[in-house]
Symmetry: C2
């Protein structure tokens, strides 16, 4: 059985640790085979230099957490075809963790819910990031746009689709260590900014239910995190200016970077933004990948 | 022309400065007469000892701001029948400010939108509180539950109705100065709490669109403001315990207090909660008013 596991954008501006969406056409593939030996065996990895030992691999950790918990009477051999670059900030480790539990779920008679799958995938994600976060794994499993409304208990809302929205992803080839991205965040923030951020996230949610484009554009902003993290990404403010000059409606850091996402109501706006941004990086001697995509309505799925 | 202006609950837990709702059956009445003299004249106030001079009265300030801006060729004489106690925390000044602009709007050929009315009412509200806030005046004008998603520009969302929700209001007769309630708030809050509050407000909004009772109950919590302000209200934690013992689903400070609101899915739960809470205050020698209400679908309206 071969599945597709989409790349995802998390920490979407107003939704730090909360809001994420799945991308169409950018993602890994994984192949699953039932084995009589229990537990996960990683039999092949292409596209990246990742550990083959299950306990050191996010897919292995997530898969084994699930297999042990459900007391499965079988094991799973997994091949991983990485297409999403590690450390790019578009959910590379989440795709492997989510893909592992999604794939195993397909082999079960009584499949688990998306919420249960997310819980197991978070255990794999924790191996990569040191923390059990759901804002990448949730959209990778649910598809579309997801909102984490709480962690104890874990609660995830599948939000209404943003059907007419196009996404541009820009991945400058620099390394941002997750630890550095965390340490740069302040421990406390002004109360007024906290209120503003909460209004933005709530406004964003309402804008999807109402499909209010004006509210959508006004709400998808980040006053808490981006001002601190943007210094880690060269030419960030210039790229933002290019996004505005090309009628894009939102721009921000994907995950903890270095990738940036950009949203627009027309594909032409994204294509023009990407071309100009890539040119800017190249002029400055920086390698960069760029992708144009839709938001995917489906998460992991069999191909 | 006689109108009813509902009492309102603002600062609803997760929605500090953002979320408010209108109450049914608790509110002021106001009477409007067109005059040839321009501007607002307050001709009568019953129920409270409030300034009769328009520039010192929230209804006068809001009404005059609107009349001047629209260059009205008439003036208005207003009688105010206060039923909402000043300083109770259920939108007494907002009812007068919102009522004034709503009433004047009814006398116009081309009435203004609710959003425009809210802008003028905020100018009256500023006289009372020192700040232009919209979280009381918006539900007083729109009715139902409203979310302020931003102040520049001002944006207000009328949220889906909470039809099966009952409200209990408890007003212990103590005085909390707005200044004191503001000064007790910290200038900065932990980033983790800011994220949690934003998840709660966004979750609350989603719960209304989905009518997800579980999410509703989990989301309507306040980690930012209540921990600091509750010390201003005697027996706050005991009253909260009573609310939980009576199956109520939410409890918090109304506005900046001293009133507390409580929500439940059954009227019997509210009635039982109110009876026990009133008894607790009386045992402790404190006078208290209590009201049982629904959330009003309409804001100010002609009677």
């Amino acid at each position: 059985m071969r599945i597709f596991c989409p790349a995802t954008v998390a920490n979407v501006n107003c939704g730090f640790d909360s809001l994420g969406f799945a991308l169409e056409g950018i993602g890994d593939e994984m192949v699953f085979r039932k084995t009589t030996d229990k537990g996960v065996t990683i039999t092949k990895i292409t596209g990246d230099d990742l550990p083959m030992e299950a306990h050191n691999n996010v897919a292995g950790v997530a898969g084994n957490a699930m297999l042990e918990d459900i007391q499965a009477d079988f094991g799973v051999a997994i091949e991983i075809y990485k297409k999403i670059r590690c450390g790019s900030g578009i959910g590379s480790s989440s795709a492997s963790a989510a893909g592992a539990v999604y794939g195993i779920n397909q082999l079960l008679d009584e499949p688990l819910s998306n919420l249960e799958l997310t819980r197991y995938a978070m255990k794999g994600e924790a191996l990569a990031s040191g923390n059990e976060h759901a804002d990448n794994v949730a959209p990778c499993i649910y598809g579309g746009t997801t909102l984490v409304t709480g962690y104890s208990p874990l609660k995830i809302i599948a939000l209404p689709p943003m059907e007419t929205v196009y996404v541009g992803i820009l991945h400058p080839h620099i390394t941002i260590k997750t630890k550095e991205a965390r340490e740069i965040l302040p421990k406390t923030v002004p109360l007024a900014d906290a209120i503003k951020q909460s209004q933005h996230l709530a406004g964003f949610v309402a804008s999807l239910y109402e499909w209010d484009k004006e509210l959508f554009t006004e709400s998808i902003q980040d006053v808490l995190v981006e001002p601190h993290r943007k210094q880690l990404i060269p030419h960030f403010d210039e790229i933002r200016t290019i996004s505005k000059e090309n009628q894009c409606i939102a721009f921000g850091i994907s995950g903890s970077g270095p990738s940036m996402f950009c949203l627009a109501f027309a594909k032409a706006h994204i294509d023009s933004y990407l071309a100009k941004s890539v040119a800017l990086y190249q002029e400055n001697g920086l390698q960069v990948d760029s992708y144009s995509s839709r938001i995917s309505g489906t998460g992991c799925h069999i191909i």
